[in-house]
């Protein structure tokens, strides 16, 4: 029996039992649409993260104090590390592969305006931090080098904290109290969604004020640098590492007291997290594919029993075991392939719907991603499911004794 005859025969059989065909395919449709939906949402999330990090700048390099660790950074655990000093900053500023070097200190205080009192994180940095972090203002202006040098008590508020403190009023020109000192608001940052410094709920003050007056320290808690355009980011990272090891007299790379990480590295980490999450969720969704496959096997076994006389007849008319086996296998694969195709269409529709909903109702710029890999995987898994779960019923059919099959009532 030729393949196209098997296909024609299978399609005819499916048309003759539409309800059963639809119910048989349902498991595969649900499984494939779930897997494609999750993979597509994973790809969309990945793209969103990439876009956000790229909006900050993929040539940004973070330098943090403390030994590289696979766990949480030292600062996050409340450990004070004083290894990043002004001489490091000066040495890095002489490095030609770095366009900007922005040291900063961070702290946590309460911020007060009139009777609103809120705990926030603040950053104290030079004016170059605005360029490095690609920050933009909703209103007002950035503070200047002159403000930094003069220890001026000026402050820039994140978009959210400004709303919390001032509601609909314009904060620019107003005074707030941070750690019991008065600061004049000069600007309000545009809400950025995701940012390397989570600036929405934070405030930025001049480096001198934060480091010397509020904290009274001579070290930095972080440095952000921007690789020069003519240089590769990885090269800049290696240069920073070399310079800091020289400055800190470190000969054994395992004893580094600082961490250097580019935005691309962070991107890779975030990418691997979203990928792992996508694979995990796809795996869970794939369970429904297995359930769908078992459903197909079940229905095919019933079909083999129902069609016992037909199998006997076909054998009497000249069908070989291979003909019968391939006929039932083709039927199973066609069922799962059509189910897979419908599942992909449903998965794509829901992905588009999700992108529309996130864009319109959450106000997040969420792109529609429907990767070819998801489509190919879904189709591959569908066909494989048909083959794997179709083999047993098809073999049962092929091995039927034609004499007994013809007598079957």
């Amino acid at each position: 029996m030729k393949l196209n005859d098997s296909i024609k025969s299978s399609l005819r059989g499916m048309r003759q039992g539409k309800v059963r065909t639809a119910l048989t395919m349902l498991g595969i449709i649900i499984g494939v649409s779930s897997v494609t939906l999750i993979m597509s949402l994973g790809a969309s999330a990945n793209q969103y993260i990439v876009d956000q990090v790229q909006s900050i700048g993929s040539n940004i390099i973070s330098i943090n104090p403390g030994a590289p660790t696979s766990g949480a950074p030292a600062a996050a655990l409340g450990i004070v590390i004083k290894t990043l000093k002004d001489q490091d900053v000066q040495a890095l500023r002489r490095e030609p592969s770095l366009a900007v070097v922005a040291p900063a200190v961070t702290g946590q205080s309460r911020i007060v305006f009139e009777n609103v009192d809120k705990g926030i994180s603040w950053f104290a940095a030079g004016s170059e931090i605005f360029d490095v972090l690609n920050l933009s203002l909703e209103r007002g202006s950035f503070f200047t080098d002159a403000d930094v040098q003069a220890y001026n008590h000026v402050i820039i508020l994140g978009g959210k904290i400004a709303t919390t403190l001032f509601g609909q009023r314009d904060p620019v020109g107003k005074s707030v109290r941070l750690q019991d000192q008065s600061f004049r608001v000069v600007g309000v940052l545009t809400s950025s969604g995701l940012s390397a410094l989570a600036t929405d709920n934070a405030a930025i003050i001049p480096l001198t004020v934060g480091q010397k007056q509020l904290l009274g320290i001579d070290y930095y808690t972080l440095i952000r640098a921007k690789a020069a355009q003519a240089y590769d980011v990885d090269f800049a990272v290696s240069r920073i590492t070399t310079i800091l090891r020289q400055d800190h007299h470190i000969t054994d790379p395992n004893k580094d007291d600082f961490m250097v990480e580019s935005a691309q590295d962070a991107l890779k980490v975030l990418g691997s997290v979203t990928s792992a999450l996508t694979i995990f969720l796809s795996g869970i969704a794939a369970i429904s594919l297995v359930v769908g496959g078992i459903g197909i096997m079940n229905i095919m076994l019933v079909s083999v029993t129902e069609r016992t006389r037909e199998i006997g007849l076909r054998k009497a008319l000249g069908a070989t075991e291979r003909d019968i086996l391939s006929q039932f296998l083709v039927e199973s694969v066609i069922l799962t392939s059509i189910g897979g195709f419908i599942g992909i269409c449903i998965g794509a529709s829901f992905t588009a719907l999700a992108a529309f909903a996130v864009n319109h109702f959450a106000g997040i710029s969420w792109g529609f991603q429907f990767p070819l890999s998801a489509v190919l995987l879904a189709l591959g898994v569908s066909v494989t499911t048909g083959l794997v779960f179709g083999v047993y019923p098809a073999r049962q059919a092929a091995l039927k004794n034609p004499i007994d099959a013809l007598r079957y009532e």
């Binding site: 037909e310 009497a316 008319l317 000249g318």
Partner: protein, 238 residues
């Protein structure tokens, strides 16, 4: 005239542990091309076993079966399936049609397993349907046909591969006497056009359409003779 089937001391035993049941024993006869042979016998006489061995659905446990002069014992199941497809047509008591499929699809069935090019199939199918006079029912599902019409579809299906021999297993068993008579006349006409027919029946009336009677009893041939008063029909096959 060519000897199409030649049986020499053919036997068939069924084993169930130590118990051996003999279904056929010492069967020897020849069937020539163009003969119309009726195989008769009571239940358990071995008619069905003999039919299944003759049509290659089963194998003998002893003796020799020569089909068109060649021994069948060394042939593989696949070779036997191909031979069955090319050389044999089947008409069953229960019609064995695909009920939801059309007359055309049913008649086309043997061609799916033959080496007939796809473009030649419609011509062969339409000719076979025309030969049994069911052109107007070509695309009607066979479940909508009467018993007699169903058996005519089965005859068309048996003819479509132009086989040298047709096996009819109780072909009138599920039909009323008029339809049964028409089916037997159709088989007789096929025989008159040179087709070899082997009819398995327990009805003396239908056996009268054959030219030769082989009677079985307890797995042995007890009678093998020509039928003198062969029934003459009015003609159905076109």
């Amino acid at each position: 005239m060519e000897t199409i089937i030649e049986l020499l001391k053919l036997s068939k035993d069924y084993r169930d542990g130590d118990i051996v049941t003999t279904a056929l024993s010492g069967i020897s006869f020849n069937i020539m091309r163009g003969e119309f042979v009726a195989v008769m016998g009571p239940s358990g006489s071995g008619k069905s076993t003999l039919l299944h061995i003759l049509d290659f659905l089963d194998r003998p446990t002893g003796g020799t079966y020569l089909f068109r002069g060649k021994s069948t014992s060394a042939l593989t199941d696949i070779q036997l399936a191909h031979l069955r497809n090319k050389e044999m047509g089947f008409v069953f008591q229960a019609f064995n049609l695909l009920g939801r499929s059309s007359v055309y699809d049913n008649v086309e069935l043997p061609l799916l397993y033959a080496d007939v090019p796809v473009f030649r199939r419609p011509e062969l199918v339409h000719k076979a349907i025309h030969d049994v006079g069911l052109e107007e029912k070509t695309y009607v599902p066979t479940s909508n046909l009467s018993g007699g019409q169903k058996q005519r579809v089965a005859i068309a299906r048996a003819l479509v591969n132009d086989p040298s021999i047709i096996f009819a297993d109780e072909p009138t068993g599920n039909l009323d006497s008029i339809s049964g008579g028409q089916v037997m006349e159709a088989l007789q006409e096929l025989n008159e056009h040179g087709r070899t027919i082997i009819l398995v029946t327990h009805e003396t009336y239908t056996a009268r359409y054959a030219g030769r009677l082989i009677a079985l009893h307890d797995g042995k041939v007890v009678k093998d003779e020509s039928i003198a008063d062969r029934h003459k029909g009015n003609g159905l096959i076109k």
